[in-house]
Structure formats: C-alpha cells, structure tokens
Point group: C2
Chain length 241, copies 2
DNA sequence: TGATAGTCGATTGCATGCAAATTGTCGACA
DNA sequence: TGTCGACAATTTGCATGCAATCGACTATCA
C-alpha cells in the first residue's frame, strides 16, 4: 500500500485540490488503490503531502465522479466495480457513442478522416506487435473514440464520454482477462468499418456498427466473467482485495 | 439577491455540506441564483449560515455537476445555459431514455403498468386544468420518465437521468416560453403511446416513440428560441442578467 | 457464559486564521 | 490624453485546531 512518487507533482500551477483529484483518480484506475479499500483522510493527506482541507474537497469531487463512496463519519471507500455495473456502463456508452457517430457523419471533414485513418493504421501495427505492453496498445483505441466524440460537436456528449468512471470500467474490462489479442484484432476491424461508414457520411450505418462494436465487447466480457466464475482463477487474477 | 429562509434547514441529519449542495442547487434551478452570477464564498457562507470549509466542498461538488464554474482565485459563477447546451443535453437524453424504454419493455410488470397508467391519468387531468401553476403540472411528467428509468433496471442510467443538470435544462426549456398548453397536451399523448407500446412489450417501438418525444421537444424549443430572437422579448422575459 | 451498557480511542466534520493570488484603482510618464 | 506600471484591498487557497460522532473494548450483570 505504499505509493511513492505520487507526491501530487503533476502540474506546478493548478490548484492543489485539483492535482489531488488527478493523483487519487489515477491511483484508483491503475489499481494502486484497490476497489473496496477504506481510506482515511489523514493517511491520504500525509501520503500526498497536503492538508486535509483540499483533500476533503477532492474527495467530494471524486465521490460525485463515483470513484469513491463516502460513509458519513467513517471516511471513504474506493468504489467496487461489479460486472453488472460495468455492463450497465457499457450499455450506456454504446448509445452515447452511437450518437457521436451519427453526428460525426454530418460534420466530419477530410482532415478528420485522415487523422482517424492514421490512428487506425497505428492501431493495426501495434496489434501486430502484441508483445508490447498493454497500456501502449490501448491508448490509440481510446483516442479513436474520443476523437469521434470531438468531431460530433456535442460538448456535453464529449464531456460525458470523458468521465473517469468509464476509464475505470475500461480497466476492469481489460484486467478481467489476459487473452486480448483476438478481441483487439476484431475490434480494430470494427473501427475500420466504422470509419469506412463515416467516410461515406452514412451516419446510420456508423451508429449501428458502433453500437454493435461496444455491445460486442460487453457481451464478451459478460461471457468471460461467467466462465471465469466456473473455473475460479486458473492463474493469478490480479484482484488484490 | 436576498434569499431569506434558505438557511440550510432541510434535514437536520445529513452532513452540512450535503445540505448546502441541495440549497444552492435548488437556488440555481429555481432561478434565485441566475445564470452567470458571480458568487463569493464568504457571501454564500454567511447567507447559508455556515463556514467556508463545508461550503467549499459543496462548491467543488456543484462544479462537477456543472451547475457552477470555478474561476481559480476568482470564485465561482453560476453556469449560463445556452440554447446549444440545452439542445445537446436533450439529444443525449433522448438516447438514454430510449435505452430505458427498451429495457423497461423487457422487465415491466403489471404493477408497473398500473402505476404508470395512474400517473398518466393524473397528468391528463392536470392538463385539463391548465390554470394550475406550472410546477405542479410538471411533476408527474418527470415522474413518468423517472419511473421508466427505474423499471429499466440500469442503475447507472437512472443515476445519469437524475442529474441536476437535466433539471436545470428542463427549467430553461419551460421558462423559455409561456404557451405550454398545446405542447403539454401533445406530450401527454406521446406518453400514452409510449406506455401502450410498453404494455405490448414492444421495446423497439417504445424506444422509437420516446426518442421522437424528446427530439420533438428539442425541435420545438429550438424553433421557439429562433423566433424569439427575431421578436426580441415581447413580454418580460425573465432573463435577469 | 452470554449479552448489554458504558467508556475510551480514533476519525470525521466544521470553524478559524494566515498566506498567496487577482482585480481594480491610482498615479506617473510618454 | 492614453497607456503602462505599481500598489492596495479583496478574495481565494490552504493549514491548523477543536468539537461531534462512530466503533471497539471492557466490565458488569443476568
């Protein structure tokens, strides 16, 4: 439970409590602060080298983001993601990104298309080099979805899709099983198909493909967890309580 | 700018900062704190009779809910809703409530149907008595949508659809124009049609109707605002800057 | 022996106080 | 006269300190 070098040193400019939010948020999503862990304010304060005042502001914000839960007079607890919760989130995300596709098809420019193609090209190359560490492989995928939301031009939508809770669900998704390779490859081709639809400004098709793309991921996750429950933890599942 | 009797006295139990959140949130949505207004912490603290510590926690939370904006070292400002923002929110809500319909169709019980029918009956009666004050007429509508989200069984979805920002957008919508009567009547029949589809467990139809229902509201809002911009404020528009 | 009430420690919740930053104003100078 | 710069008042940001509350341990009684 020792986190060194998380001394809230990201930006030297932003308000302290905002930096604390970032630090704790990253710690939760990365798994350094495991789900269900009870946190004491004074402990966190000393860990991050700040006083309790900005820390409490940060905790209130993180509670609203649903990364932690507050237990009145009992501190806070890192939220414990469940399969149902992640599945619910994916269901919502499918609908939201379908909107993004629909709108993006109307507003996309040739430059946008070129940028997205470059992203997918990089994604395809990285999948070939599967031996790379997982994090690097994920980033372009996230960028593809995020870029689409930006193109859509609905600021509220972009904001919703940028929520940390989805990053968290995503990490749950990926830590759930190791054999990502075949799913990554399929996902890549789904991305390509979506972009192809966007190129033809076929918003309806793009939205449909996107909805299926995300629903597909969710289905696979649910099926995988169900199987995992039968064969409980063959190797070491990194579910440190 | 005098708010009396908002002394944060709702519950005597909940943590103080939570009650402050409620109080400020209500003040913003009701319009007592108009959009764009700059708020000073000490002023708010004395207004609500609390110290700045819990107040600041509340402000951080309200910022995350996007009811206020923080200007570092310059205090906070009540968010100014724009037509585009409200339209964007309605677009998102249409998609989310369509999901709710789809899922509700699979899970709805006879009791649920009876409860929803009762709501719509009350709604229909209230529309006949248009002379009633506006707030009372709105509540059952909101309940219909909320109840549907509950039936859907997706907790994240329910949470999203319960956000204060949507209540705020709704108040913008209704303060935008006075002649609600014909729209209310149409909306009521749209609700009836949605429920009818749900009774037949036709999720696809219910979702479609719901999407149109909300898109319709949005379209009317946009058209109305456009007209209003031509004939600037015939009566006194309650846009107190 | 089991259950219950009381007490103590620890932790959160809130108030106060001081330092850092910003905004507005005033004055000097081109 | 207009603009730039410095200063001061105000406000936010953060740290510290005290009170309220919860949980656990112990002791007492049935």
């Amino acid at each position: 439970m020792q986190i060194v070098d998380n001394q809230v040193s990201e930006d030297g400019e932003a308000p302290l409590s905002d930096r604390i939010v970032r630090a704790i948020s990253d710690a939760i999503i990365s798994g350094d602060l495991p789900g269900g862990a009870r946190l004491r304010e004074s402990e966190l304060a000393s860990r991050f080298g700040v006083s309790r005042a900005p820390l409490r502001e940060a905790l209130r914000l993180l509670e609203e983001r649903r990364l932690i839960e507050r237990l009145p007079y009992s501190g806070v607890r890192v939220i414990q993601l469940t399969l149902k919760m992640v599945a619910d989130l994916y269901e919502i995300r499918a609908a939201l990104e379908a909107i993004a596709c629909q709108r993006a098809a109307q507003r996309i420019t040739p430059d946008d298309i070129a940028a997205l193609e470059a992203m997918l090209a990089a994604e395809g190359e990285q999948i070939d080099g599967i031996e790379r560490d997982r994090q690097r492989r994920l980033s372009p995928i996230r960028d593809f979805h995020t870029r689409l939301a930006e193109i859509a031009g609905n600021d509220e939508l972009l904001r919703l899709l940028s929520r940390d809770l989805w990053r968290h669900a995503r990490s749950y998704y990926h830590s759930a099983w190791k054999t990502l390779s075949e799913r990554s490859r399929a996902a890549h081709f789904e991305h390509v198909a979506i972009l192809e639809a966007l190129k033809h400004r076929d918003g309806e098709l793009a939205a449909l493909l996107m909805r299926r793309h995300i629903d597909h991921s969710r289905t696979i996750l649910e099926r995988h967890i169900a199987e995992q429950d039968k064969n409980p933890a063959p190797a070491g599942a990194e579910k440190s309580e």
